[in-house]
């Protein structure tokens, strides 16, 4: 919604300001349009949430780009090319763009190669590699597994070995690399996170009191540990009754925790970064987005398909969860997906011009923080809205969910609340079991079943909440974003009309209520039947 007055909202000051927005001005040190013209870009991981938006944006904003090569993994009986044309191009963010530029132009410009990160050289067939050699100017890598706590092998293979394969590929093609990682590789830290911290040998615990003297982190040693661990776990299958997957999951989390990372994902992603920075003669930039959320403007407001975003929390809030363990003074580091895509394109341009830094954080709190208690209040208002008019379900529960406000609580009180709740459920369960013996299973069975369902739901909510605790309670980050601002400032004015970096203008209240929450309801809720198991 555009509003036609001279007033515009200043989200930082919390006031309307008069006057038109400051026109975007760059120093024109580099030109993204020139940087992209007649260049060939190889995109890895273009099928994901960020990937699709990036694909749409580069096609829409930079028609000067000569060739775009997209690597797509084949799925069982569907070739990469089929998958690209039937799945990716038909997805909501790309459909409009494809219609706009036309199918033939699209086919001339975009080439699909099949490949798989688990294979050397990303599994791109040899004859295609020959074709590509010397032709690709830049490789943009968005591939990776974003699950927080998968079995450790499912994270290490793509995020560490996969990165190694990408480095090989980039070297072979004699190209430059833009690698997308995550801001949370910083691990369990607090306060402002610099972009200048050395990458190689980094582990979050370094320099802290808990560090043992002489302790050092090396990817090679970690991989030795990893091979050993996986081998031992698999071999002990006969003697250990617990499922191997479960033990691999736990092992990964423990190892990550040992070094000070929040989960397996950030641990393996950091190792991937370290491999890149250790490679000699490689021109690269590492992009670290924070939590990627619904799009602000492009391709349309509210597009979302990510599950490792705040979507589960928003859905839980809508279900009527009241107590939220968050930091009162902490921001949630979120960034809309279209800003991430724009950021990647800006950095790519900088890399093509040879004027890049090593690391770019893409986050919002440095310029325009959204504090967690405000988000908790929004979750409460959303629950009010949803339950006030709900006709189904328990009426009393609906009233509770509609009229009781959400609260910011501490982890201790969360634990005691949970304990109380479970004790209460135990009592009900005992009563129902007694009833079952007295009156028979036919009359009490459905109550027991609904109790079981409720418990499962509560359990799932607890697990989701626990996963997010490091980002909401245990740690409070502000990722510095000086580098991306500097990169955007180097562009020409014409570039800035196409891609811009402006998280300082986001009106968080409007974004959260009218864009993000509605986007989640529209795009995520339908595929979400009950909390994720």
């Amino acid at each position: 919604m555009k509003s036609r007055t001279t007033w515009r909202w200043n989200p930082v000051r919390g006031e309307y300001e008069s006057g038109d927005p400051p026109s975007l001005r760059g120093t024109a040190e580099i030109s993204a349009i020139d940087a992209f013209s007649n260049k060939t870009m190889l995109l890895l991981g273009g099928t994901g949430f960020v990937g699709k938006v990036l694909l749409a944006m580069v096609l829409d904003r930079f028609p000067e780009l000569k060739h775009l090569i997209v690597q797509v993994r084949r799925k069982k009986n569907m070739s990469g090319e089929q998958r690209f044309y039937s799945e990716v191009l038909q997805s909501p963010p790309l459909r409009g763009i494809v219609d706009q530029i036309g199918e033939t132009v699209m086919r001339n410009k975009v080439q699909v190669v099949e490949g798989d990160l688990d294979q050397p050289l990303c599994g791109i067939p040899a004859e295609q590699l020959e074709q590509l050699k010397g032709k690709v100017d830049i490789v943009v890598n968005l591939a990776g597994v974003v699950d927080f706590d998968p079995p450790v092998n499912e994270s290490v293979e793509p995020n560490v070995y996969g990165t190694r394969h990408i480095i090989e590929l980039v070297k072979l093609l004699d190209a430059r690399l833009v690698h997308v990682s995550t801001a949370y590789v910083a691990g369990k830290k607090n306060g402002r996170i610099s972009e200048e911290t050395p990458i190689e040998g980094y582990f979050p615990r370094r320099g802290e009191k808990s560090e043992n003297p002489g302790e050092r982190f090396s990817v090679d040693e970690e991989l030795n540990w990893y091979e050993q661990f996986v081998k031992e776990t698999r071999e002990s299958r006969a003697t250990n009754p617990r499922p191997v997957r479960e033990r691999l999951r736990e092992g990964g989390m423990q190892r990550a925790d040992f070094w000070g990372w929040t989960n397996t994902y950030t641990y393996t992603k950091s190792m991937g970064e370290q491999l890149i920075s250790a490679t000699p003669d490689l021109t690269y930039a590492i992009i670290r987005p924070a939590i990627v959320e619904s799009s602000l403007r492009f391709p349309f407001p509210g597009w979302n398909e990510g599950f490792t975003t705040s979507a589960p929390l928003v859905l839980m809030g809508g279900e009527g969860v009241k107590g939220w363990p968050v930091r009162k003074d902490g921001p949630l580091e979120i960034i809309p997906v279209d800003l991430v895509a724009a950021g990647i394109l800006i950095v790519t341009a900088a890399v093509l011009c040879g004027k890049n830094k090593r690391v770019y954080h893409l986050a919002s709190a440095d310029e325009n923080p959204i504090m967690l208690p405000r988000l908790v209040a929004f979750l409460g208002m959303n629950s009010r809205y949803k339950h006030k008019h709900k006709k189904s379900g328990n009426r009393l529960a609906n009233i509770w969910k509609a009229y009781v406000e959400t609260q910011v609580i501490s982890v201790q009180s969360l634990q005691s609340r949970r304990a109380r709740l479970h004790r209460g459920l135990d009592v009900i369960h005992a009563a129902l079991t007694l009833g079952k013996t007295l009156f028979g299973p036919t009359r009490m069975g459905r109550y027991l079943k609904s109790l079981r369902d409720t418990r499962r739901q509560i359990r799932a909510q607890e697990i989701t909440l626990d996963k997010f605790l490091p980002f909401m309670f245990h740690n409070s980050f502000i990722f510095e974003t000086r580098n991306i601002r500097q990169a955007a400032g180097m562009l020409t004015d014409d570039d800035l009309k196409r891609v811009q970096w402006d998280p300082e203008t986001i009106d968080w209240a409007d974004y959260w209520v009218n864009i993000h929450t509605k986007g989640i309801e529209k795009w995520i809720r339908p595929g979400f039947t009950g909390p994720k198991k």
Partner: protein
Amino acid sequence: MNKAAFYDLDGTLLSCNLVQMQGYYARNHRSILKSAYQFSKVVLSVPLFFGLDLYSRATFNRFSFRAYRGMHRDRLIGLADDLFEVTLKPAIFRQAEALINTTKDLGYRNVLVTGTLDFQVRPIALHFGIDEVICNRLEFRNHIATGRVLSPLLAELQKERSIREYAAEQNIDLAESCAFSDSSADLPMLSAVGHPVATNPTRRLRRVAVERHWPILELRENTSNFPPFLSVAKVH
């Protein structure tokens, strides 16, 4: 040259008023006691509102927006959805959506011109798929409403001034544009465009419309009786 369709909101597309909206926010404070206090304040001031409205629309608006003083902007925006669902959506006139879609199909740029506040208009604009809104906004200091409205206050003559400014800025031909309103307070705005339509008109506006041969439209009815300049163009 572009053309636009300017819509008034209250009474034109849906039936509601500022006091109803205020009552809603007053009822939904964080604490129940405060809700009761605020709500009774709104109820008690209803006679005053009536008097003020008769005296001057602008004074009425200014006075009524003071009720939001001290509220956090997040809450005003966050509850607007609920307000829309409860109070506003059921009050939308039957043919309103059809009319908006018709003008859109005919290449008019739909613009809402209303004295309602921006956060209340937002869900309505989203519902109708209207992109552009000219409306009032509250003044905030550090996210808290001060109870004042930012100038220019959109009421009476200011509506006409605003659409003229908008037209100049967006290269819009007012003679080709249309405007819809229910109240004689919007006569200046209606007179400014080439195709004014008295929509669910009040008695005074009806009289003026008959005098000036303006089409009269009832959106409350089941069947559409859109004025000829809309239906004729549709045939082509």
